[in-house]
């Protein structure tokens, strides 16, 4: 038998440490957050299922949540004591999670994640896991608030970009607010579901979770990766809007179903590509060591 791992399940003799407490609470937050999605999915009155979902749970968010739990788990066994402030935030998180609202789990993850990112910044795996949990909460809950707040501003911007691209290939294209007059006798309305915010949040989550999984320690150059993801997603979404506006047939064939899946894949592939580029030193040096 080999020597016991640092991360093996703790014996009954030792006390729980900070990472044990945070891991347990993050797990409860995730169970509540994703549990609400599963409940909504199993609701017989549910009207539809989003693409890329597993039993109603967003597959990317689920994978990122698992990465976050694994990162926090790596911090266990460090015997860092639980402070009074930790207990206070744990109580606040538990109170938030108990609220009877679909977003309560993500509210708890936001409180605990925000605290852990700051208070446990020297415990790199724990802080990294907390940051990923925070990103999942933003993607799952706060992103909807952001979408509501910025759609009136962002939708005309996306429409302007798509109309500009369409106008390079066709005469008579005009834009008023979030309405694109295609010059072909029909208009396309860029609604909240079409704006780049949601795919942008997906791309940022994919990039952030992948980066933290490969390199838990934060680097100052990372905002440049996020900016690259944002720019890439805006380009992908602009091309998508322009292509679906090209003709009614294009719209019917590509707006949903295969077209929607292709756009989702393009966003994820680009975002992971950026993350791989950002962590190339860690990835390639690991390969070299093997």
């Amino acid at each position: 038998m080999g020597a016991p791992s640092v991360n093996s399940f703790p014996s009954a003799r030792r006390s729980s440490d900070r990472a044990d407490l945070f891991l347990g609470l993050f797990a409860v937050c995730a169970v509540n957050g994703f549990g609400a999605d599963v409940a909504a999915h199993l609701d017989p009155d549910a009207t539809g299922v989003a693409g890329g979902s597993v039993l109603g749970m967003d597959a990317l968010a689920l994978a990122s949540g698992i990465i976050a739990l694994l990162l926090v788990n790596r911090s266990r066994g460090g015997a860092r004591p639980i402070s009074a402030a930790d207990w206070g935030v744990a109580a606040l998180t538990a109170a938030a999670v108990l609220l009877p609202h679909q977003a309560a789990g993500w509210l708890g993850a936001t409180i605990l994640g925000g605290y852990a990112v700051v208070a446990a910044r020297r415990d790199v795996p724990l802080a990294a896991g907390a940051a990923v949990f925070l990103a999942v909460a933003v993607h799952e809950a706060w992103g909807r608030l952001l979408l509501t707040a910025v759609t009136p501003v962002w939708a005309p911007l996306d429409a302007a970009l798509a109309a500009g691209l369409l106008g390079l290939f066709r005469d008579g294209v005009q834009r008023a607010g979030n309405v694109i007059d295609t010059g072909m006798g029909y208009e396309v309305v860029v609604v909240a579901a079409c704006v780049a915010i949601k795919p942008m949040l997906q791309g940022l989550l994919a990039c952030f979770a992948f980066t933290r999984a490969v390199r838990p320690a934060w680097q100052r150059t990372e905002p440049a990766l996020w900016a690259a993801v944002v720019a890439g997603v805006v380009v992908i979404n602009t091309v998508r809007l322009a292509v679906t506006s090209w003709s009614l047939e294009h719209h019917q064939r590509l707006h949903e179903g295969l077209g929607q899946s292709l756009v989702g894949l393009a966003v994820l592939a680009f975002s992971f590509g950026v993350a791989v580029y950002g962590t190339r030193h860690e990835l390639f040096s690991r390969r070299a060591r093997r």
Partner: protein, 170 residues
């Protein structure tokens, strides 16, 4: 305070077991606000003021956005009543339909508004859903109805007082 791992695990499992039912319970009407009742009420008020109900029209070819059209005997143009979401995705389209001669205003809870407080409405709905989950009444957040007068004639025939102009800055 020291917690044994077994005690911590038991507490976590208990917390999950107690908290999860609140998310699985039926949501009630936490989703989209009821758009039919306020549209019907506003249409009835207009019919009482001499307008003719022209039924539902599609605002887009896909039929995703619809409005109730009403006609006044003195006017050629129509008046549209359209429920709008707090994310404002329909507002530019409605503004374009109104054009320079027409008027786009909003009706909420019996008041005519130039621009409703969208974010407060969105957050109010979330607070209301939370309060209902706790078994409380919660704040009442009335749906918002867009009123589009498509020309000067329909604009003049509107029975509702136009919203007050914003106060000039000193």
């Amino acid at each position: 305070m020291n917690f044994s791992p077994a005690a911590l695990a038991a507490s976590v499992v208990l917390l999950a077991a107690v908290s999860l039912p609140g998310k699985v319970a039926p949501k009630g009407d936490a989703g989209a606000p009821d758009a039919v009742a306020p549209t019907d009420a506003a249409a009835a008020a207009l019919v009482a003021a001499g307008w003719t109900d022209g039924g539902t029209v599609d605002l887009t070819r896909s039929g995703a956005f619809r409005a109730r059209a009403l006609y006044h005997p003195r006017c050629d143009g129509s008046l549209l009543l359209a429920p709008v979401a707090a994310n404002g995705e329909l507002r530019p389209l409605l503004a374009e339909l109104a054009g320079p001669e027409g008027l786009l205003v909003y009706r909420q809870d019996g008041r005519t508004l130039a621009s409703p407080p969208w974010l407060r409405i969105y957050l109010g709905r979330k607070v209301r859903d939370l309060a209902r989950g706790l078994g409380l009444d919660g704040p009442s957040v009335a749906p918002v109805l867009a009123v589009v007068a498509m020309d000067a004639c329909t604009r003049a025939a509107l029975p509702w007082a136009p919203p007050a102009a914003p106060a000039a800055r000193a």
